[in-house]
Symmetry: C2
Subunit: 359 residues, 2 copies
């Protein structure tokens, strides 16, 4: 087992990464202060792992709420079911909430924990590659609003993250690829050495070789933790982690939540950011080709949705969080491993990229 | 104008108290970083003060959302109307939210600000005595849930509080008395000198003498700010501020939100806490009589609702936040100005108090 520490002063917490961590009661128990636990999971994960996690908590006041699976249920209304359960079962403000599932469950359980009685402890048990490398690190929690993704949420850190790599064996191929998309992102942002490693090992990841997966998770979490430690509430460098997300969120919203997986949408989003960077003369054509190639080999989309026009992209991007004073701030690339935050680019080039990627 | 500073490290903020502060554009403007503002108010306050506040912000991108007035609308559903407005008008994460109204508006606008795009700045402009002395100080924000009051919320500090005492002239007598209830609370908790002052000046407050009101607001805010500075997230002494609230919340929930005003419910709640303290032998009979007398002179209820039984009180109190490990933790009195947190009392005496106060 590997242990990474996310350094955030009194909100620091460990990330445990390894095989079969959900067979170790002590690992979970030592992060639960009182013996009151609510497990939040979904109807895909519950049949696979809920009993296993419950069995780690014998003798605890332990209950579970099982939500419907899917990004389209990441809403205030569904969030309220967690509060209904907490209150109808009379959980006190000493309850620990466990998020058992992917990124949607982590976001919702984390946000519920941030707000229940103005804040109770929570623990992340991510069961997808995407959530193990991304949404379990950094404390972002949120639900969606019909007019925008992740618009209602909080920065709220867990007590610990338990990333059991054995849970990845039950992922379908599309979900796995969606996670690989986020892994590639860390290489692109500021770790070109890792990007090289990924080019050499993309097939091993797709074949779920345990050592390759564990290494990719550890390195991604370390890369992300380093950025988050510098800028917890995204006033500056943390925004780099949004590479591909402004384009990607527009695709997710435009196509309806859940039709494109998050990792798929940001794969196309990152290719769009690379395309724009190349048009601006910031990124070499050879680098753009390498970027397109690795996403394609991972089984991820690198072209925009048929159904979306350039105008629709613009409208949806304008409502995204990364807008300051009316200019769409984007994360662009000056090279592989050299992402930059910029609102100082030629908007005509952005139009060209959108037209190139429109359906 | 008086200025108090609430000392909370990088979350410190000033409270301005005085006549006609809403005629001073500079006071408000200096706390707004970008010229994007959403005013959250209700349909009672909007006709009185919305244009006045808008006029302070000429040249700003300024919009308003007017919610229905009343505690029964302090829900997740109504909260969502604030998000609808923020998103449909494309407010960025640089927006400043202004809460213009009483405690309900402050709680909802503050909670909306805490969660919109994971946190945007907000400013409190409390227009009731209750909110000027209580809910605008300390950063508690929340909405209610059908199973309990203030169960979903956040600790979130404003940029500043502007308590314009001129706005109290439009309060009805019942609302004014409700605010006086909270003022008396500060005397009871840890300021017996202030309690003495209140006994001498209760009629001046009821007659809305400006100097008496300003002094009462300033001293209440100072007393509260001192407690909050010691314990921002209510791990310890801050719980003293809940004197009367466990009983009071049971009354508010049991009678339906909005039928008893908050200050009315906690007035009876404080008398119940004093009654129990006397039964336990912790509080002298003479002190109990003084407490009953001052609430009565203020025009506040000192007996429980006709419709509530002792059992109903117990059931509702058990779901309150102040329950730890199954014991109802209460704020009790060892004297006027000497509140204590206790779960070490004879539960039979609590039963006696509930039976004495049941309808």
């Amino acid at each position: 087992m590997k242990t990474l520490n996310v350094a955030l002063a009194d909100r620091s917490y460990p990330i445990y990464i390894g095989e079969d961590l959900l067979s170790q009661p002590a690992l979970l128990q030592k992060h639960i202060k009182r013996k009151e636990v609510l497990i939040v999971t979904n109807d895909t994960i519950a049949p696979l792992y809920l009993d296993k996690v419950r069995s780690l908590l014998a003798g605890y006041h332990c209950d579970a709420v099982v939500l419907p699976d899917g990004e389209e249920f990441k809403t205030l209304e569904v969030l309220n079911r967690i509060y209904d359960k907490l209150l109808s079962e009379r959980f006190s403000r000493r309850v620990t909430i466990i998020a058992l599932g992917g990124g949607v469950i982590g976001d919702m359980a984390g946000f519920a924990a941030a707000c229940y009685q103005r804040g109770v402890p929570f623990i992340q048990v991510p069961t997808t590659l995407l959530s193990q490398v991304d949404s379990s690190v950094g404390g972002k929690t949120a639900v969606n609003h019909p007019l925008g993704k992740n618009m209602i949420g909080a920065f709220y850190q867990p007590q610990c993250v338990i990333a059991d790599t054995s849970t990845l064996n039950t992922l379908d191929d599309r979900q796995l690829a969606s996670g690989i998309s986020e892994v590639i992102k860390y290489g692109l942002i500021n770790d070109s050495e890792f990007f090289d490693w990924l080019e050499a090992n993309i097939d091993a990841l797709k074949m779920r070789k345990p050592e390759a997966l564990a290494y990719a998770i550890e390195r991604s979490c370390q890369d992300k933790a380093d950025v988050v430690a510098k800028d917890e509430t995204e006033q500056g460098v943390r925004a780099l982690l949004n590479l591909g997300h402004t384009f990607g969120h527009a695709i997710e919203t435009g196509m309806g939540y859940g039709n494109w997986l998050h990792g798929e949408a940001i794969a196309t989003g990152m290719v769009m950011a690379a395309d724009l960077s190349a048009r601006l003369g910031w990124l070499e054509q050879a680098a753009l080709s390498r970027i397109q190639a690795i996403f394609k080999r991972a089984g991820l989309p690198i072209t925009g949705p048929e159904a979306m026009s350039a105008q629709q992209f613009m409208d949806l991007m304008a409502v995204d969080k990364k807008v300051q004073d009316g200019v769409i701030r984007l994360i662009l690339l000056k090279g592989i491993g050299q992402a930059v935050i910029s609102d100082d680019y030629d908007p005509a080039k952005l139009q060209q990229t959108l037209q190139y990627f429109q359906g």
